[in-house]
């Protein structure tokens, strides 16, 4: 497929891997920030092809994974109300709350629907004037513009039976928090290409100066990731710390201005708790006063008192900070599997634990013969 297959090309990837091998003179630890990149790494098997000097640790960039348990429980409480139609992106349905997930709510008669676009929830609201449609507004800067646009349109069209449960988080604040943490041992970052498509990368420039750590804006296909790793390793070997763009086909320095404008019109920065990590200052969005009528937590104030605690077995917080690999968790693949997830990192298609479970278990069994004999005709 055009614009995809070129970036999954074996020869191109091998060329970049050779160059990484030639460039790296000592071990480097890089963090790919986005869960989409983690999945691509494991899905393509790129993780096994990187030279041993390069260790990739998996960052906190999975919106499903970092959404606090408390928010999931609030979502479940809202979805269980008979007057509510609860609308969500698909990933969130299987994330376990403290007692059950949204699938169970649906099975028990709750009206839970999956959409690809938050604008679809406005249509549902128009078609169901006697119900309140609550959209689960989660995600990074990638989903924020569309979610904000849904609220802008709801206001413009006078759709009053629409509200949003907001749990938006932002990447630069998380990178900053990781860099401030004394435990974190990351030498360079592969920034999330999709987030930068919206926000640009000017926000990272003060970070590389302050912390002297390279940040390379990186895409999601194997060739993109290999290129991001190479650019990051080159900087490290040369003692540079700059923001570089390895995803120029999608990202400009200033980002997508109209998308940023709609985010800032609707939301303002606030402190947000990250699942497994804790509260990070100014790391998320909440509604500005002008849009507060659409805040589901104000519309249904009883959910504000919901408070919950995490499974004591789950190490997802350490995984999300790059301090542990998923398979270093004692519960991995035992108490915790995609069928019985203890934490969100095992649920989401972008979660590092799910990626390890789905694609990575072979490493524990053996390394296969890479040459598969398939004869002449196949």
């Amino acid at each position: 497929m055009k614009y995809i297959d070129e970036y999954r090309d074996e020869a191109l990837t091998r060329g970049l891997l050779d160059e990484i091998r030639r460039t790296a003179t000592r071990p480097w630890t890089l963090m790919e920030v986005c869960g989409g990149q983690t999945h691509s790494l494991l899905r393509s098997g790129l993780d096994q092809l990187l030279p041993p000097e390069i260790e990739l640790v998996h960052g906190p960039g999975c919106p499903v994974c970092v959404t606090p348990l408390e928010l999931i429980d609030k979502a479940i409480a809202l979805a269980s109300r008979p007057e509510v139609i609860f609308v969500s992106y698909g990933d969130m349905l299987r994330v376990p709350g403290s007692e059950r997930d949204l699938f169970s709510v649906k099975a028990a008669g709750g009206n839970v629907r999956v959409v690809y676009s938050p604008l679809d929830s406005l249509k549902i609201a128009r078609e169901n004037p006697d119900k309140t449609v609550v959209f689960f507004g989660i995600g990074f800067e990638t989903t924020a513009p569309a979610n904000a646009m849904a609220v802008v349109q709801a206001k413009a069209q006078g759709i009053e039976n629409f509200a949003m449960l907001v749990s938006h988080v932002t990447v630069p604040a998380a990178i900053c928090a990781l860099l401030e943490s004394p435990d974190v041992r990351v030498n360079g970052f592969l920034a999330a290409g999709h987030v930068c498509t919206v926000m640009g990368y000017w926000e990272y420039e003060p970070l590389v100066e302050k912390y002297h750590v390279p940040i390379v804006v990186t895409g999601f296909e194997p060739v993109d990731i290999a290129r991001g790793v190479l650019m990051c390793v080159k900087q490290l070997e040369e003692g540079r710390a700059e923001v570089e763009n390895a995803y120029a086909r999608a990202v400009r320095r200033e980002g997508n201005r109209p998308a940023q404008a709609v985010i800032h019109d609707v939301f303002e920065p606030c402190d947000r708790p990250w699942r497994g990590i804790g509260v990070i200052p100014r790391s998320g969005y909440r509604f500005r006063d002008a849009y507060r009528d659409f805040d589901a937590e104000l519309r249904f104030p009883e959910v504000q008192t919901i408070a919950t605690k995490e499974s004591s077995l789950c190490l997802s917080g350490l995984v999300l900070q790059g301090l542990k690999k998923p398979n270093q968790c004692p519960a991995f693949g035992k108490e915790c599997t995609p069928q019985t997830p203890l934490g969100a990192t095992m649920v989401s298609s972008e979660g590092a634990c799910a990626a390890y479970y789905r694609y990575g278990r072979l490493a524990e069994v053996q390394t296969p013969n890479p040459q598969i004999q398939t004869g002449q005709a196949g």
């Binding site: 899905r43 393509s44 098997g45 698909g90 999709h194 789905r358 296969p368 004999q373 398939t374 004869g375």
Partner: protein, 373 residues
């Protein structure tokens, strides 16, 4: 107090109802009308015409289902295949097919995957009050057409009506009986290290046809369901080593790659046989438009359903012959050898990826979920 619909006597001919009403499942005159005017003319055959509580079939009719070559065997050397499947797809009519065609092909294919020649089907229709009569007519017509195409007879049927809101328009259950010729021995546990893994064509067409309708996606090329009866293709494949006592030996395992797609089938076969399976992702045929739709929706063609594709595991010595025969059949023209059964990593399916890496290909955990971003 429940309504006693059977006591309603207002005699209205079927054509006056544009939709199904509860009375059509009452067991009374309206139901008789529905059967007489809609189902009977479409499904007409001598066995159905018995109109008994059960249909009786002479054993000779079953033996007649075999090829002339097999007739020298005694009936006690033959095996029956018997299967059932329920169909609840939404929407009822989708690009490339409808629930009626799917219900016939699904059961025909389940029979064919044991090497059986499908002979007889039953169909149970569960209709939701309010279903348009026109839609029912269209779907029943395609049930009849699919039976003709697959060469099976519909010999038993049932109709029930449920209240509005208690169904999704129309559900169909089909059961089927087929006969397996002596010597044919196809079973999921027969995969052996060294065997070749073959798919009969492009993967993911049906699943993405349904998804694109549900999600309102439009592409330059319309994605159509691949629903098709595979019994003809299987019989063609069984001819790879013709004659003698080894008529069935060219194929060890067959599966139609329905829900869960290719990934699920390979995992089931690896688990059942206790062997490992390796395949090359690049060799799996996927239509460009299906690939594109999967990329957009964050789904994987390997996990996406097919309704007219099979996976075959055959001894290496027979692989070329089987592949050649498949490619001469209209439903196997894009057949491809994608990998092999290995002794290593028993029970695990491993893909060699496009960039030359490798990964485990697991079963999807549950419902396919669209990704956030």
């Amino acid at each position: 107090m429940p309504l006693n619909i059977a006591s309603w006597t207002c005699p209205r001919p079927l054509q006056n109802y544009p939709t199904i009403v509860m009375g059509h499942g009452s067991g009374g005159k309206m139901m008789a009308d529905l059967i007489q005017h809609l189902f009977a003319p479409l499904f007409d055959n001598d066995l159905l015409a018995q109109l008994g509580d059960s249909t009786t079939i002479g054993l000779s009719r079953i033996a007649d289902g075999l090829a002339p070559d097999d007739m020298r065997h005694a009936i006690r050397d033959m095996r029956l295949a018997f299967t059932t499947d329920s169909f609840v797809v939404s929407p009822l009519v989708f690009p490339g097919g409808d629930i009626g065609e799917l219900a016939v092909n699904g059961t025909v294919n389940d029979l064919a995957m044991s090497g059986a020649r499908p002979l007889f089907l039953s169909a149970g229709f569960i209709l939701e009050e309010g279903l348009r009569m026109e839609t029912l007519g269209q779907i029943a017509t395609s049930v009849a057409a699919a039976c003709r195409e697959a060469g099976v007879q519909l010999v038993a049927g049932d109709t029930k009506v449920v209240n509005k809101g208690h169904g999704d328009g129309l559900y169909i259950n089909t059961s089927g009986i087929g006969v397996i010729a002596p010597g044919v021995d196809i079973a999921p546990n027969r995969a052996q290290p060294g065997d070749a893994v073959i798919v009969s064509g492009t993967m993911g067409d049906h699943g993405m046809a349904i998804m694109s309708v549900r999600e309102g996606l439009e592409f330059e090329t319309r994605i159509e369901s691949d629903t098709a009866p595979l019994n003809g293709l299987v019989q063609a494949m069984l001819a790879a080593a013709p004659g003698g006592e080894h008529v069935g030996s060219p194929i060890h395992c067959l599966r139609d790659a329905t829900r869960g797609g290719l990934a699920a089938v390979l995992n089931e076969l690896a688990a059942a046989s206790g062997a490992g399976i390796e395949f090359e992702e690049r060799r799996v045929p996927v239509r460009p438009e299906v690939h594109a739709a999967c990329e957009m929706l964050g789904l994987d063609p390997l996990n996406t359903a097919n309704e007219g594709k099979l996976v075959a595991i055959v001894p290496e010595s027979q692989a070329e012959a089987v592949l050649g025969l498949m490619r001469t059949h209209p439903l196997g023209q894009e057949a491809a050898r994608i990998g092999r059964v290995v002794a290593g990593h028993p029970g695990l399916v491993v893909a060699r990826t496009a960039i030359g890496g490798s990964r485990v290909v697991d079963l999807p955990a549950g419902e396919l979920l669209p990704r956030i971003c």
